[in-house]
Symmetry: C2
């Protein structure tokens, strides 16, 4: 753990992210963490967990005497709270954790003490009760410094992010919004669009949602989640989300044209391109994805079944890189897919699972579009 240089922090907003910043900063040597939250219960929870030392009754109270202020509220509230923090104290550095940066940074273009931030940590949980000191461990944390940003506040924010265990990644504010529109907001929008299209009506009496296969289930996992949070995010990044949707629509039209003219060659090229891109994504996410193997095991719906299998692997110290139970029904059981890095590990894992009485199928999870 890197030692924190700015020892006196203020948290404006003590929900999941704010309280996790508090806990992680405490671990990194923070001496005083003042906190404010409009929700008294959230503030109380953060105080009890040690994420906050001094609960404050106002933003001004929290900010006074702090070297570094972290604004961690819903995106819609961030601009005014950042402005309030900057005007309350004329020395402190101020940062935020909102998921869009363009408009916010444009509104603060003449400020030297503000550095926009956005930790990319995908927890679906919310609230300070779910806060953990290791939430940011290894996570990308975007920082959006401006030409007017002074070195000292930038250093303070950068140092905080590093001390929290995250990887600071500087990016221009509008580019940040374009990037997250593509990697987070577009997928989220498509999940909602897809589940609403499938749920729009029956097909000759058949309910599409009831015959959903694995891909529809996977692709709608985030559909409808955290409505108010997502409403704010989509509105705050509307321009970039629209532009990603427009590009998506062009790609859909192109696919339609290829299907209409039965262009097998172009379609095959498109599928192969998807296989290569999926592989690039896996390589970035999983170490050893170049040699990742999938073990598929049919399991029944009995209690303890998963324990038997994972125990067998754990006892031999074989690490499971990915674990997915496609639970189909109580009577049918489901297919368990385990990802294991390295051919030798995969073979050892399969023989252990077989010894535990299960049939196993190994395949390479590193897809080669040329061989399938």
């Amino acid at each position: 753990v890197t030692e924190l240089n700015t020892k006196r922090l203020a948290l404006v907003g003590t929900g999941l992210i704010g309280a996790s910043v508090g806990l992680a900063a405490k671990r990194a040597g923070a001496e005083s963490i003042r906190g404010y939250d409009a929700d008294a219960e959230a503030l109380e929870t953060a105080l009890r967990s040690g994420a906050v030392d001094v609960p404050c009754a106002s933003v001004a109270d929290a900010v006074s005497g702090a070297e570094l202020v972290v604004v961690a509220t819903p995106v819609a509230l961030i601009p005014s709270l950042v402005a309030e923090a900057l005007s309350t104290d004329d020395e402190c550095a101020v940062t935020d954790v909102g998921s869009t940066k363009g408009d916010l940074c444009a509104g603060l273009a003449s400020e030297s003490r503000f550095v926009g931030g956005h930790p990319v940590c995908g927890s679906e949980a919310r609230g300070p009760a779910n806060a953990t000191e290791d939430l940011f461990e290894g996570a990308t944390w975007f920082l959006t410094p401006l030409p007017t940003t002074a070195p000292e506040p930038y250093g303070a924010v950068h140092g905080l992010v590093t001390a929290l265990g995250a990887v600071p990644t500087a990016i221009e504010p509008r580019a940040h919004d374009r990037l997250v529109a593509l990697t987070s907001h577009l997928p989220h929008a498509l999940a909602n669009l897809l589940v609403n299209q499938a749920g729009a009506g029956r097909v000759e009496g058949h309910e599409p949602l009831a015959s959903a296969g694995g891909s529809l289930r996977d692709m709608t996992r985030v559909a409808g989640a955290n409505p108010s949070v997502w409403l704010d995010i989509l509105l705050a990044n509307a321009a970039e989300v629209v532009s990603a949707l427009e590009d998506h629509r062009k790609r859909v039209e192109e696919l339609e044209a290829r299907l209409r003219r039965g262009d097998a060659r172009a379609l095959r090229g498109w599928i192969d391109e998807a296989a290569r891109n999926r592989q690039r994504l896996l390589t970035a996410v999983y170490e050893g994805a170049d040699d990742l193997h999938a073990l598929r095991v049919h399991v029944s719906n009995r209690p303890g079944e998963l324990a038997g299998i994972t125990q067998a692997l754990g006892s031999e110290r074989i690490n499971i890189e990915g674990f997915d139970l496609d639970h189909l029904s109580a009577e049918r059981g489901g297919t368990l897919t385990l990802l294991v890095a390295g051919r030798e590990n995969a073979t050892r894992a399969a023989s252990l699972v077989e010894k535990a009485g299960y049939g196993v199928v190994i395949s390479s999870a590193t897809r080669d579009p040329q061989t399938t």
Copy 2:
């Protein structure tokens, strides 16, 4: 297991589905299973596993003397093989397992002995080595009888499907294709489109695929999979896939319009609708989804960690309805999400996991858009 009435079967195509039909039919009392596959190795594998009794050198040889013929080849080959089977023997019933039904059934509209079929079983594995006798247990198996279909062959196919453990579900052939275009082919196409858009280029030097969050990973799981199989499927069902894509495009345009005018009310309604539809999907897939609870546990990347947790639950006979490890990185570990039915079970499970030394967060997996 229901006893099979047609004891003499022929399999034309002995890959994953054909060989699984053989194994399941054998369990249900089949007396003779003749098999043909253009791939000699696939046929040999099916013979060794007992999925086939009599390997045959031609379709005609396999069909001769069979009461019921199952054509289980890639979709592009099905029409000619069904026709060959029907012309070889003038008594046998013939069915297939292809994933599209409209054109095939239209071409066989005057046939009384053909019944189209499509088992919905999502295995990603392929080939007869992966065949299992319980592949179809509890699965929906679409049947597409026509006005010209005679009762006897229909009864034979229906009886086979039931004996294999599946649930026969009759549907008009074009309606079938519309339904699967929506529930399977559209999601698959969107996975490819999405990963190709995210992979299309860098955003100011940043690689979008490298900063992929959980939703992009989930939503591109099937991207690029089994290129030749999917090329055939998309081409065979091109008209219905195009129509689903057109509808999708209209929905995307509507979303763009709402974002452009910042229509918070309409956007909120759209997200709430997605939450309700996702809930309907979960209710159909998981029993007890009305009272499903998610336990989130932060786990490190150490071998044996999953064993400790699942073992703790298994020992108390608490059943895990869903299991998902969002593996983020070696240094950071991941978030394990367990789904458990019933509030009491979830609370028990959480205290067991806590006793095993982990922090747990319980939340209702039955999302209520009004409360989040």
